[in-house]
Each structure stands twice: as structure tokens, then as C-alpha cells.
Amino acid sequence: MDKRLIMTDGSKKPYIIIFLLFGIFIGWMAFFLLETTEQAGVTELSKEEIVARDDLLKGYLDEQAYLQSRIVSLRESLTEEQKKIKTHSESANLQILDNLKKSIGLSEISGKGIEILLNDSPSVFRDGLKVDNEDLVQAADLRDIVNLLNAAKVDGLSINNQRIISTSPISSVGTAILVNNSYITPPFYIHAVGDIDSMLQRLLIEKNLASLYERKKKSNVIFEIAAKNRLTIPVYNGNLKADLLNLVK
């Protein structure tokens, strides 16, 4: 006689139900664990903790804004002082310096271009949402657009007045988006000065921005492009690291 759980034919039915429920329970637990892992790091904070956290962030952001404006001001002063130097040899060097500044994003640029508006779906509030929420504009959307614009050989571009240069990272920490490691918040305005047709040619191909076009249709993420007669791209206001680079002479 089988001495395990099922003793007789008459007692099989309850065990089938128990085992089925057990199987569903295991599956549900697996799902629950995945969900819990996904939520890890999102903890309930008291009002005081939220205020303290925001104050700390604000302190760093205020310092960052001050330092960025100080950098712009110092670069302007430096350029002014350099212009005062009159000798011929130094004037030649100043011309070289001026051209180099233009090529690396240390000069303001104005001209025809396009303005792209990207914004989260009007029905959502960014704070507290998961990073992969389809109603949100993602850092990847900004990266893809910037890449397309660079491929169109723009003269200069910015996102919310942050000049984008070749070394500018566009990343995210949770739902916060950082450009040049500085916080930016929606709505996102991308300004690009350059050949409008070349830019539009790339931006209007849905395949190039498949995820964004799909979310525009499904989730009402805002994505609008407008040609502009005159746009101004500000100078790069971040740090430029070159201590590991050596010129081949």
C-alpha cells in the first residue's frame, strides 16, 4: 500500500486542489519577489525626512548653479583680458584660441534651427514613479535625439539651456534626469542650430525614435518639433577635463 499522502481513491480530490493551490502559491511568490526587488530602494519617508532630503539636494543644486555661473563669468573675463593684449604674435594666438573655443562649445552660437519640446504625459507626476514608466520622457529619449542631431552636423545644441558638447553625459538617477551631471526637469526644450532640413530628415523617421513615437501615440508623451528663425545656444558652463590627454608633438 502506498504510504504517502494519497491513501485511497476516495481521498485524491482534496489533495489535487491542495497541490494546485500550492503550485499557484509558488508562482505568485515568484512574481511577488520580482515585484519586491523592483521596488527595492523605494521606501516610505516621513514628511520631515522628505524636507531634510530636499534641503540637502537644494544645497548642492544651489552651489552647482553658483559654480556654473562663476565659470561662465570667469571665462568671459578671461576672454576680455585676452582681447586687451595687442602684440602681433599674441593676436595670432588669440585667433587660434577663439577658433578652438568655438569648436569645443565655449562660444555662444545663434542662427536658424529647430526647437523640440518633450514633456511627460499630462496625466502623471514624475516624483515617485518607476524609472520605466511609459508616461515619462526618459534620458534615453534625449540621448537618441541628441545623437540624431549630432549626426545631422548641428552647429550647436542645448537642453534646457545646458550646452551639449561631445563629452556631455545624459543620464538618469531614478526618474531624475541629468545633463552634464546637472539636474534638469520637464518640460525639456532641445534647441539646435544648424541645417533644418537635415535635422528634420532624421527626426521625422519614426524608426529612428521608435520608442518615443510609440509612447507619443499610446501614453500621450509630448513630442513636438518646430523650426525657428533664430535660436541662441549658450556657452558650455561645466568643467573640461584634459589632465590625462597628451598632445602628440
Partner: protein
């Protein structure tokens, strides 16, 4: 030997299958998460990024103040301008440069967005210069484009697998971060299980 499956064994088998089916119903969600292009964040990470950024900005301010001090002194003005020219030449991409760093080789084709994300991650974590298959990414060449048939093109040149990234940077801290779980190398490997992703530190990397 008795190979007959007992009733109990059949029931256990059935429950296991149900459990697995349920897990696999939700598996795409888990898999999607692992190859999602953005990272989950936390408050401490936010603070660290801001703190590091502010430190870098302070160094830049100090450097500029020093240059401004030099330019006011006629004797030092010329050398200050030369220093500035040299620094910007290194960044512009107009001159050949060299420095320490690492090489990353991807043995197969990947979607263009992964190349964009890799380049972005390198700069995010402190790279000072990056090239792909010998083409340095500068303000003039940083756009990675694709042709209708899917070929990848940078600055007018078609590039194809294997993709070789050269990155001038302090290699150890960057590779430590890039190799971490849920970071971009991990995500790339999840997206392309047959991808062979090989990194090697270099004492000297040259870029045109």
C-alpha cells in the same frame, strides 16, 4: 525496476508545471527590467553625483582664476594663453592625442542605441576621449548615424562589427563601475547572450 509514475508524483509534476508557467508568464517583465536602458536610482547616488560634480566645478573655477591671475601679469600672459590653447587642442579633436585607458571590443553587431549608450556611460564615468573603430568622437563627429540598410556610419565612414572602443581615462574606477551588476555591460550581455564583450586596460592609447 519499477518505472511507473505514482499518482503523487504526477500531482507534484503538475504543481511544478503550474508554478513554472506562472513564473514564465511574468518572466518577460523581469527580462525587460534587466535590459532597460536607464538605471534605478537612490538618494545616496544622487547626492554622490552632485557632490562629485560640484568638486569638478570648483577645480575648474580654481584653474580659471589662476589663468585670470596670470593674464593680468604681462610676463605670464603669453604662457597662460599657450596653456589654454594646448588644453583646447587636446579636446577639440584637431590634434593627435595619447593617454592611459582601456579598450572594449564587441564581437558582433548591436543596435545603434547601445553604441550611443556606451559612449554616454564612458563620458558619464569620467572618460576624457573616446573613439569607435578608430574614429574619435568630438563635437564634429559625435553623431552615430544609420543607413536605410542598417549600416552604422560615423562622420561619413561606415563601421561594422567587431566594434572597438578606445577610451582615454583612469581605467580602474570606470571598469569597476561598468562591470557592476545592472550596469551597461550586464545589460548588453542580457540583450545579446552570444555577445563576447572583452575589455583590456592599456597604458597608452593613441587617437587621431
Amino acid at each position: 525496476m519499477n518505472l511507473k509514475v505514482t499518482y503523487n508524483q504526477r500531482i507534484f509534476l503538475l504543481t511544478t508545471i503550474i508554478a513554472l508557467v506562472l513564473v514564465f508568464i511574468f518572466f518577460p517583465k523581469a527580462r525587460f527590467k534587466s535590459i532597460y536602458r536607464e538605471n534605478d536610482g537612490n538618494f545616496f547616488q544622487e547626492i554622490k553625483i552632485l557632490k562629485d560634480k560640484n568638486e569638478d566645478l570648483k577645480k575648474e573655477v580654481s584653474g580659471l582664476e589662476e589663468s585670470l591671475g596670470q593674464i593680468a601679469d604681462q610676463d605670464k600672459a603669453l604662457s597662460a594663453i599657450q596653456d589654454e590653447i594646448e588644453k583646447y587642442k587636446k579636446l577639440s579633436g584637431d590634434s593627435q592625442i595619447f593617454g592611459p585607458g582601456f579598450t572594449l571590443i564587441l564581437n558582433r553587431d548591436v543596435a545603434l542605441s547601445w553604441l550611443v549608450d556606451l559612449k554616454n556611460k564612458f563620458f558619464e564615468y569620467g572618460a576624457q576621449a573616446v573613439s569607435i573603430n578608430g574614429i574619435r568622437l568630438t563635437n564634429k563627429t559625435s553623431g552615430i548615424d544609420s543607413l536605410p540598410k542598417g549600416q552604422i556610419i560615423i562622420n561619413g565612414s561606415i563601421i561594422a562589427a567587431p566594434y572597438e572602443f578606445n577610451v582615454i581615462c583612469d581605467p580602474e574606477p570606470i571598469l569597476d563601475i561598468l562591470d557592476a551588476p545592472s550596469e551597461i555591460f550586464d545589460k548588453l550581455s542580457a540583450a545579446y547572450p552570444d555577445l563576447n564583450l572583452k575589455t583590456s586596460k592599456k597604458e597608452m592609447i593613441y587617437m587621431q
